[in-house]
């Protein structure tokens, strides 16, 4: 078992076009760093200055991790993490 991570269209250049990738870790931060080791460049699109980028939404299963513990949110095998760029503007 692993943790499944769903990648949005705009970030699939980092995953050779794959819609989802798998990784492992005890927290969201560890999971992202594990995935970064195989898909270089992805981490910088999600994290800036040690925190999640403001205009990227990351969900653990059905919950926005901003309402959990952000990068410290615990994750486990069988979870699904979904990344969606926020739709926003002025």
């Amino acid at each position: 078992m692993a943790i499944e991570v769903r990648i949005p269209t705009i970030l699939r250049t980092y995953t050779d076009g794959a819609k989802q990738v798998e990784g492992s870790g005890a927290t969201l931060a560890e999971l992202i760093s594990d995935i970064e080791s195989r898909h270089s460049g992805l981490s910088a699109r999600l994290i800036d200055g040690g925190a999640l980028r403001r205009f990227v939404n990351v969900y653990l299963n059905d919950e926005d991790v901003r309402f959990l513990s952000g990068l410290d949110t615990p994750v486990k095998d069988g979870d699904t993490v979904t990344v969606l760029p926020a739709v926003a503007g002025g």
Binding site: T9, I10, D62, D64, P85, A86, V87, A88, G89, G90
Partner: protein, 135 residues
């Protein structure tokens, strides 16, 4: 070029008018790869602001999953400007994240005339495109 039905065009304009003076926003989904806007999905502007919009993150997850399940994609992403022209702002350009979408801008700054324009926004570059309205 964006080809859109009169019906959907009217829905976008009605949503923008209803939420004025706050910005309104939403999506029109269509079959993946078709470039045909078909299913109108008005979204909550989580910012409830006359100068900014952002989809509510939980609603966005639900809608994006639903599109995925139905093999659809966001063909149109629309929002309104309520005091300025229907042209993408600096923030619109920097946060544009759907390279395949038509970004529709509606301006409700005038009471009797609604501007409706469409753009592609790719890597920070804005290209306006013609809009064809069909019955």
């Amino acid at each position: 070029m964006l080809t859109i039905s009169t019906h959907l065009y009217d829905k976008i304009v009605a949503h923008a008018r209803k939420d004025h003076p706050d910005e309104a926003c939403g999506v029109i989904a269509g079959p993946a790869g078709s470039d045909r806007p078909e299913r109108f999905i008005p979204m909550e502007n989580a910012e409830r602001s006359p100068t900014f919009y952002r989809f509510d993150s939980q609603e966005q997850l639900r809608v994006w999953r639903e599109m995925d399940d139905r093999d659809e994609e966001p063909v149109v992403i629309y929002h309104s400007h309520t005091a300025t022209e229907a042209y993408p702002s600096r923030t619109d350009i920097s946060y544009a994240s759907e390279p395949g979408a038509h970004y529709v801008l509606v301006s409700t700054r005038s009471d009797d005339e609604t501007e409706f324009r469409s753009y592609r926004i790719l890597d920070g570059e804005v290209t306006e495109e013609p809009v064809q309205i069909q019955d």
